[in-house]
Subunit: 415 residues, 2 copies
């Protein structure tokens, strides 16, 4: 009755998934809707930045040659001939011993080649000031193109669009942004025991928590989804829903039904639809039954029905796959090392992922860690990764930590 499955390593499983990801294509969205998307083409400077030479300070624009004789007691006097703020352009050409009073960000007037800061001057009548040092040509200026030059490629395609990226896109006039189309993901929770959230409990049944949780994991990535009605452990009925979902979505996440129990029909469903099973056992806890299959160019993620295993399977396999589909350049969970704050004595031959609270320095298991326990899920912001072996781990050991809920990932897989 037990079917033998050969476990693959987590790294091998991730690599198999990444290798099968097919790009979703691109679309154009308004700048205001582009946060969190993936750039589909490089962000190129459409003009120099600054695109005109300007003053980085409040002060006076002068001809530097006129300041050549100024030093110590030998003050040189200038007459103010115009007064501009940022966004204004002076109509005067600065002549000998003339100055234009100007504010930070204002364009350097014609004739001038340096700026004197207010604190470098002394007042001399209502329209004049004196200086006591010489200024070099170009002193106190932001030169045209000193930050970026027209045509320069600033951010590569595949970058995550964060608020700073939006600032750049706005600067260069990208009112529309070419981004990767987001995959639409189907969610199907399978299990005769499952009730919807609004349903009163019944003997032997539990409410479906995996479906709403996965929807939130997708929402956190900004990825749209279609939730299918919870299916009982019925082969024909589930098969029809899977087939329907493959028509309507870019990939399908199922929870439950993927193990070797008498009513676990997903292996049979994969077989019936001719899907290629990339793996059906991973050397990890929780979630060793996690299965990923491909039908046509669409992923079928068969996550465990246990909430912790389901959660972990999503973050380890579904998340990088979806990002890879968008052409993102950083598809993996970011990671760090931290000091284990308490003993973890349970040894396991498989790599163990433990929901944990990371505080920037140390990391502590979030609580009761049986794979069907949901209570600790809501506390963790990370996963401790403990390599499989014959011993537990003691407090003070430096361990690998995968960080959850971080908007941008990394381009290298930890394991």
């Amino acid at each position: 009755m037990e079917k033998t499955r050969n476990p693959v390593s987590v790294a091998e499983a991730v690599a198999r998934v990444i290798a099968k990801a097919v790009r979703t294509g691109t679309e154009s969205v308004p700048l205001a809707e582009s946060y969190g998307r993936i750039l589909a083409e490089p962000l190129t400077a459409t003009h120099d930045v600054p695109h005109f030479t300007r003053s980085p300070y409040d002060g006076y624009a002068i001809r530097s040659a006129d300041s050549a004789e100024a030093f110590g007691g030998n003050r040189v006097t200038f007459t103010v001939v115009d007064h501009i703020g940022a966004g204004q352009v002076s109509r005067v050409t600065v002549g000998a011993y003339e100055a234009v009073r100007l504010m930070t960000g204002a364009a350097l007037p014609a004739g001038a080649d340096a700026v004197v800061m207010f604190e470098q001057t002394a007042e001399a009548g209502p329209l004049g000031f004196t200086i006591r040092k010489a200024f070099a040509s170009g002193e106190n200026l932001s030169l045209q193109g000193e930050d970026m030059q027209a045509g320069e490629q600033i951010i590569p395609a595949g970058s995550f669009i964060q608020p700073g990226t939006i600032a750049l896109l706005a600067t260069f006039g990208y009112a529309q942004v070419k981004v990767a189309r987001r995959p639409v993901v189907g969610i199907l929770s399978i299990g005769t025991e499952l009730l919807d959230v609004a349903t009163p409990l019944e003997p032997g049944k539990i409410r479906n928590s995996n479906g709403p949780m996965i929807a939130a994991q997708l929402a956190r990535m900004g990825i749209p989804f279609k939730m299918y009605e919870t299916a009982a452990d019925q082969l024909e009925e589930s098969l029809l829903t899977v087939q329907q979902a493959l028509l309507e979505t870019d990939c399908l996440i199922t929870t439950g039904g993927v193990s070797v129990g008498d009513y676990d029909y997903l292996p049979e469903i994969y077989s019936r639809i001719g899907a290629e099973v990339l793996f059906n056992k991973v050397a990890m806890r929780p979630g060793s039954v996690t299965t990923v299959a491909v039908s046509g160019n669409k992923f079928l993620f068969g996550l465990s029905g246990n909430p912790s295993a389901c959660f972990t399977g999503f973050e380890l396999f579904v998340r990088p796959a979806l990002l890879q589909m968008t052409g993102a350049d950083k598809v993996y969970l970011p990671y760090t090392k931290a000091v284990l704050a308490e003993d973890f004595s349970k040894a396991n031959p498989f790599t163990r992922f433990i929901r944990a609270v990371y505080d920037g320095f140390s990391v502590r298991p979030a609580g009761f860690n049986k794979s069907n326990a949901v209570s600790s899920i809501a506390r963790g912001n990370s996963l401790i990764v403990l390599p499989g072996g014959t011993r537990g781990y003691s407090a003070g050991t430096a361990v690998d930590v995968l960080l959850l809920g971080v908007e941008e990932g990394t381009d290298e897989w930890l394991l």
Copy 2:
């Protein structure tokens, strides 16, 4: 013309803002829309978890007393009298040497008090199996309430609702969730030099990048906003817009107009509307002109017009203030220590925040770091914090790092 302002430390500035935050109140939202919100009341277990004693394995439910004589060569035979999966409840009461075949998650049938895993049995005819060891009462069971008990407070009010929290809320039947109302934030970019993103460049002018950037910083927090039309440096016009925004929003973020230049009218506007200025100079670079005022119980955040300073001012002051308004328990940016990957030789008397790329181990300035440079904003995922002083910092030094783009913060301010 120069007005003297007294700088406050960043820590003091943050403390003054936090002290003035007024709670927004609460509302009820559907579970499916609750990701990223702040719990307004504790999440309490509405029933035991598990709410019935169940099998954690695929196997057979038996009466443990019947296994007492089993050992080694003395195998005991059981007859299978029913077969259930998760979600099903057996109608039989298990009698002497009887067993119910059951799958992971299925309720323990009446009469049984232990589960024998498949791998602990040998088949004996079509309806029987044998075992070779004794089982204790309660062996291989998930006992009712072993994970959580009815009435137990699982997650406190003020918690960020992450996907794991959603799983818990679903488990306990919270189809509606009581959360903090999100503040509605007004955004007003001030500056005669500002053009909208879709407008062609003009001499002396630049496109407004701060407004869209702040909108994205709010979007990243899931906070709604109202964007006001960019204002020129005109006192009366800006005053009217500020007054309008205070009627329509919970707080207002302005960019620009806040320094001591000839056309910086925000100080005058604060005075005209009788706002209390909490500070108008902070001992930090960039963004020393950052100003926060309060009118009635509404914040007026006066951020610098320089993109880097604006970005940093938002993350340091606006973000914790908005979270505090929702009653969140972790309002500050998370932080860690990392090794500085390259020299930063520029000394500064003020604390410096440098946009940086953190890879989990070391941290590196994201690039050209003048406060008006936008090019590096789009590369950073963190801010290096360098305390003010007379010396620069050399590669290899451990420095403080504030992490950006992390969904959940920390409850303690770094500085």
